[in-house]
Symmetry: C2
């Protein structure tokens, strides 16, 4: 049950120290998805959910977006802050994702702090779930959220990458 509102998205691939990432942008230069290449099928699933009817074609992302991603991995960890993102999702999820972008590189928050930040201090677990469903990894920094006791708890791209990203941001 879907309607057909044709829209063509562009799928680019960028090499990084933690493996190739897939970068999906739309006609207006907004980022629609970012994920690691070894989880391509999951990303497709998310895309189908968030942009029903859209078709995805291989191509090159706008230069500014590509460059920002590359600069981030080279050490300029603030390079992603100016990028525009666009997602589907429920009201709640969008609120969570917006809150994520407010966490500066180099810092972390607990799931509890995240829940509190969006005004639903008791929806801790729900916030964690929404976090895990973030379709735009790295740019929407879901990796900056960790357990109250300091454990990394989980990451859709693999805990190793979460650790790497956090170290990378702290180093910078």
């Amino acid at each position: 049950m879907r309607n057909a509102q044709p829209e063509t998205l562009t799928l680019d691939r960028v090499a990084t120290p933690v493996g190739e990432v897939l970068l999906v942008t739309d006609g207006e230069g907004a980022v629609r998805a970012l994920d690691f290449a070894d989880y391509e099928d999951r990303m497709s699933r998310l895309l189908r959910r968030h942009a029903p009817g859209a078709t995805v074609a291989d191509g090159r992302a706008p230069e500014g977006v590509r460059a920002a991603v590359e600069r981030y991995f080279s050490g300029d960890v603030r390079a992603l802050d100016g990028l525009t993102v666009r997602t589907g999702g429920t009201e709640f999820q969008r609120t969570v994702w917006k809150a994520l972008r407010a966490i500066p590189a180099g810092e972390t928050r607990t799931y509890g702090q995240l829940a509190a930040a969006i005004g639903s201090p008791r929806a801790v677990r729900a916030a964690g779930l929404a976090n895990g469903q973030n379709p735009i990894a790295v740019i929407v920094p879901c990796h900056r959220v960790i357990g109250a006791n300091g454990t990394l708890t989980g990451y859709a791209g693999g805990i190793e990458r979460k650790r790497w990203l956090l170290d990378h941001e702290r180093r910078a």
Copy 2:
């Protein structure tokens, strides 16, 4: 769980011998919905389903579409054949709706014949269900399908209107 792809639809009203009809068209002149004014809430519901995120504003439909509808009710029962329609719905539903448009004005089919026409001779009841969920009444002529024994069985806009439409088309 919906994404936001803004699209504005136009809602027009046309007077007919069987009551006012609501006529929804999109920016490209395709018909997105048509229903009788006394079932407005149901139409809104269908629209929300088939065009999530779209907003509907009162206005005037493209002249060609309006004129076609008026000509149909004046006796030119083929006037609707050239109109473009656009719907959501499942694969199955769309197949059924396409098959409906192939039934010429003045003729009827049974639910069984309809099911057979789409290649699923045993999906009789499912075809009936899809028939009833047609969002574009009259133009997609779901009223031309009747029971195997000749009874009219049902019509979302009321059996009376179904009878009137069939008589009208036979007269012409």
